[in-house]
């Protein structure tokens, strides 16, 4: 059975891109979306996703504040998908300290279609590792 995924990001464009990336892999099914941390917490409680893709920079409640609440309650695993958490930076380390499985950069089409696919593949790979699934063929 496909693992349920929740997408929390304030940008509809980014949510759409993430949804399309997730749809590439049969192991996952998107359960829902939320546009800020507070709505995200409510959606987590309601949908009980196996995996949540979480943005950091959001209105109302940001990603780290959400992680602080989630750290005690769950559910599932959280993969931070953010462009404001650079490699080895404070935000990334705090997210992992709070129990996020990993931090990945937002998908970027900066160079070519291949690059966008590559980032998408990186994201799916991180998502699979977060849930202990084998690598996709």
């Amino acid at each position: 059975m496909a693992a349920g995924v929740l997408i929390i990001d304030d940008s509809p464009t980014m949510r759409r891109i993430l949804r399309e990336i997730i749809a590439e892999d049969d192991a996952f099914a998107v359960l829902g979306e939320a546009a800020d941390g507070e709505a995200g917490l409510a959606a987590m409680a309601r949908l009980q996703p196996t995996l949540t893709l979480l943005d950091i920079e959001m209105p109302v409640m940001d990603g780290l504040a959400l992680l602080r609440r989630w750290a005690l309650r769950g559910p599932g695993q959280v993969l931070v998908v953010s462009s404001s958490a650079p490699l080895g930076g404070d935000v990334a380390l705090e997210a992992m300290r709070l129990g996020a499985t990993a931090v990945v950069a937002k998908p970027s089409g900066a160079l070519s279609l291949d690059m966008a696919q590559q980032r998408g593949a990186d994201l799916l790979r991180a998502a699979r590792i977060a849930l202990g699934l084998p690598h996709a063929a």
Partner: protein, 820 residues
């Protein structure tokens, strides 16, 4: 890359929303935190979206604005002061958005706006990272009293938990109150990682209840096994394990080792992001230092690791860059700046005292030792020393030969610093994304114009004009009188005009050549784009065949016509697969050669041509076997004597393969003939060089531009034909001896009636040279090539059709397809 329609609509709507919000927010600037946050997020979202659709210009602009607002968030910049520059940024983003949506064009950010934004950022301080966002106000919990009780129960149970005790009532109580993650962690197998995670969760619970931070006992336990497991875990992309680093970090937290936790957390982040190129290079840089510290088995050794900036100077050797102390790093960089060299010296330690003294003496004379790292697993222990020295390598070696004649102490000495990348110094030229069909259109128009200019030029030089003028001038003499004077005045005017036209024509010719060069710039792309698919292909074939193979690429920046890229992509892939599949011996069959085979793809620029060489160090082409197969297939008569080149040329014949078993990689009916054909269609040619037991090299020689080809014009049956100038070995007179080369009359090859021979052109072919008899050898010229009609493309002797300046079409002959 044009955007997909629905994504475009969404992008358009959302970006407009953010831009409106920015404008509204800045027209009435407020220093309130919420207002700054909203502006920051609007630019931040624009940055993320631009990046996602590949609009680098927009992204750069939004990023700079976001940085400025980051400062405003920290209270270091007032929004009122920043507003004018930010409004400019908003306007520029609007323009860029329109260009992107209307024309799929990525506008470069206006330098003035970028400069205005940069001026807001304090000099020398560019916040690369968004500051930690504000914590949301604690949400009051409805279950406050119960949770507070739970917290005190947890704090009370802490010593027991640290000692590994399980607390089933606490597990149940937490689950009842919805704290499922905490409950699961209480139920997890005891150990330092669990303790660390529990301590953090208890602290979070206290924070959320607004309680003071509880004092938790420091855990006891041995962290060495965790570190050993981490050291032993392979860190390559396929099997890395970030969770192990996370466990060790949690254990460090339980032990109160903040610095070590930070280092391990960084390692966790790097490993979790591993496919990312930045993470991979950072990991490679720090790996030796980490390996050493982890092997030490104590958290103390990890202190400070990962605290230094992850960005290290590329001029320092990777392993030392991670291991050097900050002051040593400064000294190393200063030495490099002073023109000194860095050397890596591998030395054995713990030898006889007099040896040590000799080594020390040499080192002191040689320069300054900046740092050392222990060579893992060496016995007796070996040290790698980083030496900064003003002496050249030869001088150091000479002094070393005196100090350590028997090489008892110094095992090796080599320059250690990577070459300074010159590319970094190149000034950044702003670039502009333009749709491909716009470029194609310009190229086509330039080609048309070139043809028109050439037609004009030929018309001006047409000998009939001079003949007409001569006739007029003869008439002038015959007429005499006033008619002659009038005629003379008219011819004088015509001649003056002709001179002016000739002048204009030569100016036009010069401009056309410059235009050609400029257009060529539009047409060419780095050949590296062609190489991108190769590593994966090699890996998959090599893995499938169980052969260890290394792919080496060189000359990626050599530029080649864009149209050739499409034409060559599959053939190159095929050659590389072929090299792995057929060229390289099966594992264990490589004799004395290294077990890891090398496939090398190298591009090189020659005048007007590009050469791509695909070589392997495999078994080479077995000429006997090639001949046997060719005989069996009836391609050659049994017992035919064949030169090496002719044998290799057999491989290019349709459907030829010496492998009896058809593998699924390069079997599929696509042979070297298809590759050869593609190279020929690209206006180039292919040659094979092979040595038994040493390997094989396929050399593809291609024109830099597929559109303009230098040719030699010849005539047959009253019509001009062209042969590629690059293939002409020599031109002989009609009576000269061709030296026993195979001879072919062009008329016979084209099915035209016999004509007397007016010249012989000797052409180069993979199967050996060919002497081509033609009615006349006219001249050398550059020909503008057009795609060949499909009906003609099937004829083996034809390569392309070109256009003479007069507009007359000319067929370009393909020497390989002529005769036998």
């Amino acid at each position: 890359m044009p955007l997909e329609e629905s994504l475009r609509a969404e992008f358009a709507a959302e970006t407009e929303e953010h831009l409106d919000a920015i404008e509204a927010g800045l027209n009435a600037p407020s220093e309130a935190r919420s207002a700054i946050d909203a502006l920051f997020r609007a630019f931040h979202s624009l940055k993320g979206m631009s990046d996602a659709v590949g609009a680098a210009g927009m992204k750069a602009l939004a990023h700079r604005a976001e940085d400025a607002l980051g400062l405003a968030r920290q209270g270091k910049l007032s929004v009122a002061r920043a507003a004018p520059a930010l409004l400019q940024a908003g306007d520029a983003l609007r323009l860029a958005r329109q260009a992107l949506l209307a024309r799929d064009e990525d506008l470069a950010p206006p330098p003035a706006v970028l400069a205005a934004l940069s001026a807001l950022l304090e000099p020398g301080q560019a916040p690369a990272e968004a500051p930690p966002p504000p914590q949301a106000a604690p949400v009051p919990d409805a279950l406050d009293p119960l949770l507070a009780t739970l917290l005190s129960m947890l704090v009370e149970a802490a010593p027991g938990l640290a000692a590994g005790r399980s607390e089933p009532e606490l597990v149940a109580a937490c689950a009842e109150m919805g704290l499922h993650r905490l409950s699961a962690q209480l139920d997890a197998p005891p150990g330092l990682p669990r303790t660390g995670r529990l301590w953090r969760m208890i602290a979070l619970l206290a924070e959320q209840l607004g309680e003071p931070m509880p004092a938790l006992p420091r855990a006891m336990g041995d962290v060495a096994p965790l570190l050993a497991a981490l050291a032993a875990a392979p860190h390559d992309a396929a099997t890395h394990d970030a969770a192990l680093a996370g466990d060790a970090a949690d254990a460090a937290h339980a032990l109160g080792e903040t610095e070590a936790e930070l280092a391990l957390r960084r390692l966790q982040d790097l490993r979790a992001r591993l496919p990312d190129a930045d993470a991979a290079s950072a990991l490679a840089r720090h790996e030796p230092a980490w390996a050493l510290a982890l092997r030490d088995g104590s958290l103390a050794a990890l202190r400070g690791l990962g605290l230094d900036s992850l960005a290290t100077d590329a001029r320092l050797p990777a392993d030392f860059a991670a291991a050097l102390s900050p002051s040593a790093t400064r000294r190393a960089l200063a030495a490099l700046a002073a023109g000194q060299m860095l050397y890596r010296v591998r030395a054995i330690t713990g030898g006889a005292p007099e040896d040590e003294a000799a080594l020390e003496f040499w080192l002191r004379g040689a320069g300054e030792v900046l740092g050392s790292i222990l060579v893992p697993g060496s016995k007796p222990p070996q040290l790698d020393l980083l030496l900064a020295s003003a002496t050249a390598e030869d001088g150091l070696r000479a002094a070393l030969a005196l100090a350590d004649p028997d090489k008892r102490h110094v095992l090796s000495l080599a320059p250690a610093a990577a070459a300074t990348p010159a590319v970094l110094m190149a000034p950044v030229v702003p670039s502009l994304r333009v749709r491909q069909d716009v470029v194609d259109n310009i190229i086509t128009l330039a080609a048309e114009m070139r043809a028109a200019a050439a037609a004009l030029s030929e018309a001006l030089r047409d000998p009939s004009m001079a003949a007409a003028m001569a006739a007029i001038s003869a008439m002038e003499h015959r007429l005499g009188g006033s008619a002659a004077r009038q005629l003379a005045a008219a011819t004088g005017q015509i001649n003056a005009l002709r001179n002016r036209m000739s002048g204009a024509d030569s100016r036009l010719g010069l401009s056309m050549r410059q235009l050609d060069e400029a257009v060529l710039e539009l047409r060419v792309v780095p050949v590296g784009t062609l190489f991108q698919r190769l590593p994966r292909a090699v890996r998959s074939v090599a893995d499938g065949a169980g052969k260890p193979v290394r792919l080496e690429l060189a000359g990626e920046d050599v530029r080649i016509d864009r149209s050739l890229i499409e034409l060559l992509a599959d053939p190159l892939l095929h050659l590389v697969r072929n090299a792995v599949d057929h060229g390289i011996e099966p594992a264990g069959g490589r004799g004395a050669k290294p077990a890891e085979a090398v496939v090398r793809v190298a591009a090189e620029r020659l005048p007007g041509q590009v050469q791509i060489i695909v070589s392997d160090d495999g078994g080479g082409i077995d000429a006997t076997r090639v001949r046997r197969v060719a005989e069996a297939r009836g391609l050659i008569a049994p017992g035919t004597m064949l030169s090496e080149a002719a044998t290799h040329a057999l491989l290019l014949r349709a459907g030829f393969s010496t492998r009896t078993e058809i593998t699924d990689v390069s079997g599929r009916g696509v042979g070297l003939d298809v590759v050869h054909d593609a190279v020929r269609r690209a206006g180039g040619h292919m040659s094979i060089a092979s040595q038994m037991g040493q390997g094989t090299a396929f050399t593809l020689t291609l024109p830099t531009s597929a559109a303009i080809q230098p040719v030699l014009l010849v005539e047959a049956g009253g019509h001009p034909y062209a042969v590629p100038a690059g293939r002409v070995v020599s031109v002989l007179g009609a009576e000269e001896d061709a030296g026993g080369l195979p001879m072919l009359a062009l008329e016979a090859a084209l099915g035209l009636p016999w004509a007397p021979c007016g010249g012989v052109v000797v052409l180069e072919r993979p199967a050996g040279p060919l002497a081509l008899r033609v009615a006349r050898v006219t001249r050398r010229t550059d020909l503008l090539l057009r795609p060949l009609h499909p009906g003609l493309a099937a004829r083996p002797g034809l390569a392309a059709v070109g256009m003479l300046g007069s507009g007359e079409p000319v067929l370009v002959l393909e020497p390989d397809g002529l005769g036998g």
